[in-house]
Each structure stands twice: as C-alpha cells, then as structure tokens.
Symmetry: C2
Subunit: 225 residues, 2 copies
DNA sequence: CGGTGCGGCGGTACCGAGTACCATTCGGAC
DNA sequence: GTCCGAATGGTACTCGGTACCGCCGCACCG
C-alpha cells in the first residue's frame, strides 16, 4: 500500500524507532510530532501508541525488560555478599548497552541535549538504584545504620556503572567491561573494612572470561586505586 | 470582585499552592486540572502559568533557589577537602525542608503515591548530585580514577542526605540534623583511607552548635558504624 | 485634571500528547 | 464460505502548555 509500508520486511516497532531517531536528528525533539513519526514509519498514529506508551518511549524501549533481567539475576544469585551480587547484576546493564552500541550512542547524544529525555533517563536509573537498595537491605541484618549502608552501596554501584557507561558512550574507553570491573572493585573496596588496611583487595566475580583478561582487569584496578 | 479574590490579603502564589495541595488531596493529582487549581485560587488559568512553569511546579517551588544557595555555599566554602565542603553544603537542603515541615511532608505523601511527581523529585535530586560531582571533580588532581571517585562521593552525599531526609519525613527520627551529621561522618569515613585501618574517625565540621550535641552525634555515629 | 505608559490579569485560540472508541481488514481455523 | 480474533486506522475528546490580545488599575508627568 505505502511505498515503505508492510511490503518492507522490517517490523512496525523497528520502523517506528528508526523514524523517531531520524526525525529527532533532522528537526529536533520538540519540533517532531508523534504524527510525524507515525507517518514516516508508514503507520497510523494509533499504532504508535499501541507499541510505545509515549513519544519518549520510542527511544527508551528496553528498560522494562532490562530491569526484569537484572531482578532475575539478583534472585538467582549465588554470590556471598549482597553487594557482590549487585555488582554482578549491573554488568547485564552495561552489556546490554554495548550490544546496541549505535542506538545507545545515538540516544546518549539526544539525552545530552534534551532536558526531558535526560530526566527520563535519570528516572530509569533511579529504578535500578531502588531495586539494588531493596535487595541489599533485604539481605542485611536489621541493625541500626544498615539501611543507610544499603543505600550507599546501591548508589555507589549505580554511579560507578554510569560513570563507565558514559565514558564508553563518549568513546573515552575501548574496554568498558574491564573498566567496569575496575570500578566495581573500587566500589567493593570502599565498603570492605580490610581493604584500606591491607592496601588492596582481590575478589573474583563469577565469570567465564579468559583468565588473562581477568588478570589484566585486576592489574588495572590496582593501578587506579 | 471575587469572594476570595484580592480582598484576601494572601498573595496569589500562596493561594495557588494551597489550592493545589487541597485539590490533589481531594481528587488526586491526575483528576485535578490546572483550571481547577486556578478556579479555587480565584485567578485565571493564565495567571497560574505566569507564576509557575507547570502544574507540577506549583508543588515544587523552591528547587531553583535552593540549588543556587547550595552553589553559593560551595563557592564560598573554606573547608579543607571538597568532600567536606559538599557535606556542609548539603546541610542547607535538609534545613530548608525542615523549615517548611508541613509542606515537605505533604509533598512527600504525594511523591510517594504519584509516579510523575516522584520522577520530578528524582530529577531535582540529580541536579544536586551533578553540582556536587562537578565541584568535587574540579578540586581534585586530574589523576586516573579521580572522576570516578568524585562521582562516588557525590552519590554518597546525596544518598545519605536523602536517607536522613526521608526518615525525618516519615517521622522515623526527631533529630534529623544530628542524624545527618552521623550519616555524613559515615560517608566521610568511607572515603578516608585511615578510617577502616584505625576502626573509626572523628572529624569536626564548621558548626556553632552546643558541643554536647556534637558529642552525642559522634557517639551515635560510632555506634552505627 | 487629563494623558500616558506599564505591569498584572483574564480570555480566547491554538498546538500537541495521550486516551477512548469504533470500523475495517486480513488471515487462519473450521 | 464463514466466523473469529488480532492488528490497524480514523475520529473525537481531554488536558497541559503557549501565544496573543485586550482590559484595568496605577503611578508618573504635563
């Protein structure tokens, strides 16, 4: 029917996302209406809102699924401490972004410019932080100060993750996974009593990577500490 | 002209805020339109948007001013370390909430229930965190890992503050200022090398309170650690 | 006293996001 | 062929937010 309509093999959701990114680049976010996006995708306005809850949602598709994945990972974690479990779980988030590198960078360019989108991103991050906080608090003895400690741990993990993620998005690093490990080692050291005393800490995450890579990671962590 | 119009001595802005809180309680946030608020305040719809940028803004009036105050405090800080300067500055935020206790608790009840308002609150918090992060990073030597360290410090200060603030809003504590000091001591200890080594840290903020109160605060901090 | 500029206000019209509802179409099951 | 259901499209509506215009009161000035 339409020149770029259902004849094209790509799915409706994909076409909508493509159209949105294109138009936001061409005219800017505010100047693009929902009808514009739907038109370029070759679908009706109603269909857009069936697939995405809002105009912003077209660019932030995966947060719900991702947060569910993270929650599952936490639920099935075998890590000894809650903090380590969270550290392992947050890896999923970074890896997810890396998988869709182009989209992620494209989105980052938009969230850097447009306040509404930045706020949206921040709200999503807060959901991870809340999930982590509750998980950690749930695994701690209910002594006074435990709640604060859980809160600090969750905030540290999320901040460190975002720090590495942004560095990778800005192409300040080519080895985001290794840097994440280094950052997380720093976070864990923060909350490990003996860390500062002995000067350094080595901890092994449950991971199936090449031992050489792990070793390099540890070396970097110690250098940065 | 109107029965509750300019005859009443209270200013337009105050009446709008009162009307908004009332209506949000009576009908809920979504069910209240800006016309409803303007009507109850006895002003036109246009006037509402002249005084507040949006419907949400009617309930979040002071963030711009507060963040400016915090920025000023940081700019004129004489604290030795950047972290301590931030710790002192964040005190302003807590004190501001305490000054408008009723409004703050009312707002907290709303932000707890309504997602849009919670997201708005979170976005505001992120602005403080960003301000702190940039301040700390700006005062640190540009060695590798410094940026991450600044990020972690800012996140810790903001999280600890929010933790105490929420406890006070929920009436879980009657001495929020003392608890803030305890929490901040814990934060500073986190980032102080010798802290974990010696087992505890004592640091004195520039403050003019009764030494007895300070001593009690320290005692609590050590018990919670 | 009258003119004049100005700031605060109200009203109207408009745009665009998001919702509700209904009609259509297409494809598969029987 | 027929029926059913899922996906789609269109229309109309609500509401937040913006732009614009006209009104009124008030101070200042001749």
């Amino acid at each position: 029917m339409r020149e770029d309509g259902t004849v094209n093999g790509t799915g409706v959701r994909e076409r909508l996302v493509d159209a949105a990114f294109e138009l936001f680049d061409e005219r800017g976010y505010e100047q693009t209406t929902v009808d514009d996006i739907a038109d370029r995708a070759g679908v009706g306005r109603t269909t857009l809102f069936r697939h995405y809850r809002s105009k912003e949602d077209v660019i932030f598709p995966d947060h719900d699924r991702l947060i569910a994945d993270v929650r599952d990972r936490l639920a099935t974690s075998t890590a000894g401490s809650a903090l380590v479990a969270v550290v392992e779980a947050v890896r999923l988030v970074l890896l997810h972004y890396i998988e869709e590198a182009d989209r992620a960078r494209h989105r980052y360019a938009l969230t850097s410019r447009i306040a509404v989108l930045r706020d949206r991103e921040i709200a999503s991050v807060a959901r991870y932080q809340r999930l982590f906080r509750e998980f950690i608090a749930g695994r701690m003895a209910p002594e006074p100060g435990a709640a604060l400690r859980a809160e600090l741990m969750a905030a540290a993990v999320v901040s460190a993750h975002n720090h590495v993620l942004r560095r990778w998005l800005r192409r300040d690093t080519a080895e985001p996974a290794a840097e994440l490990d280094a950052a997380m080692a720093q976070v864990i050291a923060l909350f490990t009593e003996s860390a500062a005393a002995s000067g350094s800490t080595v901890l092994v995450l449950h991971d199936r990577r090449d031992p050489e890579v792990v070793a390099a990671t540890i070396r970097r962590a110690l250098q940065q500490a």
